[in-house]
Symmetry: C2
Subunit: 258 residues, 2 copies
């Protein structure tokens, strides 16, 4: 294991791989190679960060000090097993996969988990993205923390249990809040009002939540136990029974919590 | 009915009354009086906007051209009935209450509904807040649109059915997205990681939704039909069974939609 990491290889060419490869290259690291299940995807990312594209995942070992496995959660184990003997460090980037899953295959392993929603087309400044580090040894942890510190001001240690809870929390605060927006827009569509009328509310709600405590900021019919309005709303959702059911469960849980 | 409104009175002294009274005063309207179920609350708002505080709701008629009823939804009907004969315009500010509810009591009535989440302590720029207008006649509608146009650049017409759907949409996009943040923070609390690690995700998710289409932007384990991660997450929520149930329902609905 090199104490000073210079050459970083990627297994995977999805959203996280793109954002990490771009960020690491900007910080002066050399991206030594990209492997992907779909070779043409590896070529695209390799072109983007002046790296080699590989057909065989074992080639990631060539001239690299660190391999970042950024593939679908359920593919991490197989990819790790396929890499074979390796003297460098291997990390994965998943919230809900234990370090244990790859630790058995390598001398030096870790987790390098950025908590953010990434899309290839949309620029994200990594500077504000929290990174969560776990490692097979203190030495590896130190090295991963150093790398993360070049990308962001927010580096945290988190073991696999903490990271799992964090990921569940992020599903609610990110994926599921987005689903609430999507449902809101679907309902609004039925009113022939333009979708952008919800935008100030969405931004104000999010902005308040990060300045204050969302639990204390809860408003709405359910928070006020306004059963008449809740009934009106569920009647209005008669043609969307899935959302009526969801509305009712959320109203019940909010009432119960206050 | 005055064609040119100068004097505006308020029934109610909650969040909406505060923000509207403040905004209208800044635009040069005279706030003629405030009545509230709790007189001491009326006094506070009256002091704030240099108005009179009234003990009797009927006094709102004194020297006013417009009465804005900004009370709890289920109190609107009673307050409207208590005002008695009035030559001016009476509006309410509620999303889910039909114009019909107050129309029977007055010659000139309407709805003046601002779609935003208001807290007394937090400044909101009304300029970006969409206002939705409904009225008992074209003349009244015109007058209400003129007033709204001084407060905001975004004035829309919406009948009672549209406004109800809009309010349901807003409950999902606002109240329920906030509840997702609150749940996220409650789960995160169990991990001993600081709550602010969720903030960049919350802001990025909201920011993307208003620039794009949240339906297309949906990510996460449910969107990917990643049943292994979904099961891990529901297991991690074993000590919070309400949230495990909610997680499961949301995962099911997302999977069904994609």
């Amino acid at each position: 294991m090199q104490q000073s990491i210079k050459n970083i290889a990627f297994a995977g060419s999805g959203n996280i791989a793109w954002h990490l490869a771009k960020g690491l290259k900007q910080q002066g690291y050399h991206i030594s190679g990209i492997w992907s299940r779909d070779y043409s995807h590896a070529v695209k990312l390799a072109d983007f960060c002046e790296a080699k594209a590989f057909h065989d995942v074992k080639e990631l070992r060539d001239e690299s000090d660190l391999i970042i496995i950024a593939v679908a959660d359920n593919a991490i184990k197989n990819v790790a097993e396929s890499i074979g003997n390796y003297e460098g460090i291997v990390v994965h980037t998943a919230g809900s996969v234990a370090l244990e899953t790859i630790k058995v295959n390598f001398k030096n392993s870790g987790v390098f988990y950025p908590l953010q929603t990434f899309s290839k087309e949309i620029h994200v400044s990594l500077k504000e993205v929290p990174f969560f580090i776990e490692a097979s040894s203190e030495d590896v942890k130190h090295i991963l923390q150093q790398i993360a510190s070049k990308l962001t001001t927010k580096v945290y240690k988190a073991d696999s249990r903490q990271r799992l809870l964090l990921h569940v929390a992020a599903v609610f605060a990110g994926n599921y809040s987005n689903f609430m927006y999507a449902i809101g827009e679907e309902i609004l569509n039925k009113s022939n009002l333009p979708l952008e009328v919800l935008h100030p509310l969405i931004m104000e709600t999010a902005g308040k939540a990060v300045k204050g405590d969302p639990k204390l900021l809860q408003t709405g019919p359910a928070r006020r136990n306004d059963t008449i309005t809740i009934e009106k709303h569920m009647d209005a959702l008669a043609s969307l029974p899935d959302y009526a059911e969801l509305y009712g469960l959320l109203a019940k849980l909010i009432s119960k919590n206050y």
